[in-house]
Symmetry: D2
Subunit: 305 residues, 4 copies
């Protein structure tokens, strides 16, 4: 509770950033577009004594496609009556054939971080968590190398070294899944240099966030920075996305780039790439933690702050 | 009508960009935040047979401040029953103490462009208008120099040369106001190098858009590019804003920057500055034309596309 | 000569932007790296009474690879003794096995623009030429469509409509080449939607500049904007490059991007894409006109201002 | 030596990033522009058996102003004969009235970090130092608060807590200067919230790097983020600069910005601001460590990689 109080104090009344308090809830909706959805949702919240703090919505195909909505609301004693509130919403959801979820902002999402040897993304995540920039709970770090152990354990976060070879991948993934079971809400691949199987992913659909370098144009395969250097790209960047069985082709959450020129050697490009990866990944994870991302087909709808 | 049909065809069904057709309307609202606003607005539109295409809202102070909303909706024969629709909304508006306006997307806003000698912003505006990127109607160009006449008149737009000196400014502004009266909805200062008086502005409150260069830090006064060069700034930019009696301190609509280094001379900085001004101004004007900007105190809330 | 004088006046003494006057020359060098190159070049220019205005160089592989240099220098009556100066440089060049060229900044490069239906890049080029931002001479516009004729001819630039089908491409390219012969120094493909054959390109090696959209990741093939929309990219951009027989894989000259989100429909992405293409292409062409680009393998070394 | 070997290995032959080895030297020159400078410098290095790895130069006023040059060169046993090499250069320097310095890339610059309560910039500096991204040596951290002690001391870096009030500032600065004497080459103000006196600065002219937030426009004085929020800025950024007695008006080394909109509350702006400050400061410090910055009046000439 102590940390929670501190966090509330930190978010002054002047910010729109919702106070992640027990009394704030979020409602996420996806359904076929139709007249009356917003009216029904707003009427439901009003009738339940909930005040809308922020509401974002998006319609595809000019109102003839699918409708997406994220509402952040405030209500007294929300946590006590949360189950009831959800039950009460069921008829509204059924009327419009909604996929939906309701969350309590005060409950931290739990996540595991997968890492290999390069630890810059892991370090940035831990830092953002320590400073309160990420309102979530890292519950374990898994790695196919032992290197990150000394970084992670002093922070009180369990570290599991699970080597992976092509032969041992099935057992390794099985061991990972048993460790994770009921312990985490989502996973972060923070420069984890192993391909995760569709079977593994099927346990966490659209709940695995990955970060990778991005260039204009793309350089698929080995040594992308050396090839970007050889081609003389003028921009390098990074992409955070949800992992699907198509690997790097899942829905994009966030991207950023930085200018470079011929003076940047391969090592310079890599150093800059690490910097962009850190920033982009933490931004994506924060949006995920705050339920700001909805997925439509292979694209995301992000309502950022 | 021909141009209108073309424009509709251009906006394919895949875009969210609202079809600026006669049957699309926009409702803009600003009021003290309170429970039930969204429900009431949504219910009103639903009861009138209007389908919400896009809805954006913003609350200040976590729901304890002011509430802003922009709704784009579609309804049959909207233009015929537009007056009735507005009348019907009055009780809803009164209940929540709303400032509001309703517009028809199919009706082009009329504007005048003020320009001095540098014509790059004027040219860009005319270009964007010709290609349909700006859905509005330039009804006249006013200048304190004769230079732009040849550019403007062949396009069928009236050009008025009104010289301005410190002595003649009152008469000049008077003449400008008489030319503009009932002819325009808003004004664009496209590198118009004359200070506009508060008296003039009082006729077009928050309806005058200006563009000016921006630096980190600011260089107020004469020869800003030379001084930015002397200081060795690494970024130069431009700001589009609404003009208030405090001149360049009105609500910011849009800003952008570009990287520079010591190799950029004063003329290089100016050339780049012109490029950024063109882009930023047209973006701001487009948002204004599409009713995407709300003003809260001295800041804007922009719901862009 | 009049225009020339104006141009000189425009470039004030405070800028590094070289005065494109008859007395300014540029020397471009590429050779195996070795000790003494810079000393030899600097000594040569000094001995010829030439003052170095700007000098940029680049070495690959930490001095064990290839050496690139661009020197801008000023000398009296340079144009009269230009042939002699080049002859005098030959021994220096031979000593270091240089590829090199010397140009007079005051002589405008001549170029042809190829365009199809979309004319935004052509318009921007013509605009930049008219305002003096591009110090070059457009000598003709070639198109497989008649649309741009009205835009081009009033400016006194010849327009040639040469339709192209898969059957007629050989004759069309033959006709293009005959029109261009001895008339132009380089070509610009300004949204020219025809594939240019290796045979055609062999007449203008590394002298054809193309512009195309760029995304993270790339979307190769048809309807790239629709596919970028479907994938939910967060950045769209454009790349200007030299055309090689590998088409879009030639050396990159310049790139830029702009942020987008789910609210941008396909038409919005296209509009923004056009804006970026215009800016990026003109920047690349300016650098080419000012001899600021050297090519190393499949990459460019750009010394911009 | 071990760390050095590792560092060399890290910089592969493909990069231009100079190997910071004992045999690499850097020569920085500033002098009135004149014919023959480059020839003389290049001839000098050639005659000394030094191979130029990278050379950058800049002339102001089209060759009629001041000339700046940075040369990175490689020579055998450079450290042993470094004093002799400098002596040999004196006549060349005198001939052109040069201000100059020669450095050995293999010798790490020593620096102290000043910090107050906010530690994000300090953390980023320490991180970049640990990963080898900053080739320098932090020799102490000074703070007017005790907070950073636990962060700094476990890394083997001395931490000194020196409280400062307006009454005790003279003694505090005196104590700081005695601690620093002969220990450091330059200072970094990493969110140090005390004004440093001109007297203190006079001991480290152009050797104190500061970081501060930047906005378009600037918000001078208290609570800049709250005021930027109230004004609705669309870009926030940070500036790293050398500190002069005019405080935040010293020569700018690096700047960057990030887009924001009305959804960003004051705390969101601050969080993003911290992110930009970290990145910009480390970039500036790296350039300083690698002798990539020359100062001309109140502006910097940066030759980055």
């Amino acid at each position: 509770m102590t940390q929670h109080s501190i966090h509330v104090e930190q978010d002054s009344a002047q910010t729109q950033m919702p106070i992640p308090a027990l009394e704030v809830g979020r409602l996420l909706i996806s359904c076929p577009d139709a007249p009356g959805i917003v009216a029904a949702v707003a009427q439901f919240l009003y009738s339940q004594g909930a005040n809308i703090l922020q509401s974002d919505q998006h319609s595809t195909d000019n109102g003839r496609g699918r409708f997406y909505m994220r509402v952040e609301f405030q209500a007294e004693e929300l946590s006590q009556r949360f189950a009831t509130l959800q039950d009460t919403f069921v008829p509204v959801a059924q009327r419009f054939d909604m996929e939906w979820k309701m969350t309590l902002a005060g409950i931290k999402k739990r996540f595991a971080v997968f890492v290999s040897k390069e630890d810059h993304c892991l370090r940035e995540l831990l830092w953002a968590w320590q400073t309160g920039d990420l309102w979530g709970q890292p519950v374990m770090v898994l790695s196919n190398h032992p290197d990150a152990k000394e970084l992670v354990e002093p922070l009180g976060i369990p570290f599991h070294h699970i080597p992976v070879t092509s032969d041992t991948k099935p057992e390794a993934e099985d061991r990972q899944l048993r460790l994770l079971e009921n312990q985490v809400d989502f996973l972060i691949l923070a420069r984890y240099m192993q391909i995760v199987t569709p079977w593994f992913l099927s346990h966490y659909p659209l709940q695995v966030i990955n970060i990778h370098h991005s260039f204009l144009p793309a350089f698929i395969g080995r040594n992308p920075y050396a090839r970007a250097y050889d081609r003389g790209v003028k921009l390098i960047g990074a992409t955070a996305h949800y992992v699907t069985p198509q690997l790097d082709e899942g829905p994009i959450i966030e991207q950023d780039v930085h200018r470079v020129d011929h003076r940047y050697g391969v090592e310079d490009l890599k150093r800059l790439g690490r910097q962009i990866e850190r920033t982009v990944l933490v931004r994506a994870v924060r949006w995920h933690l705050e339920d700001r991302i909805l997925v439509h087909g292979n694209k995301t709808i992000v309502f950022p702050s």
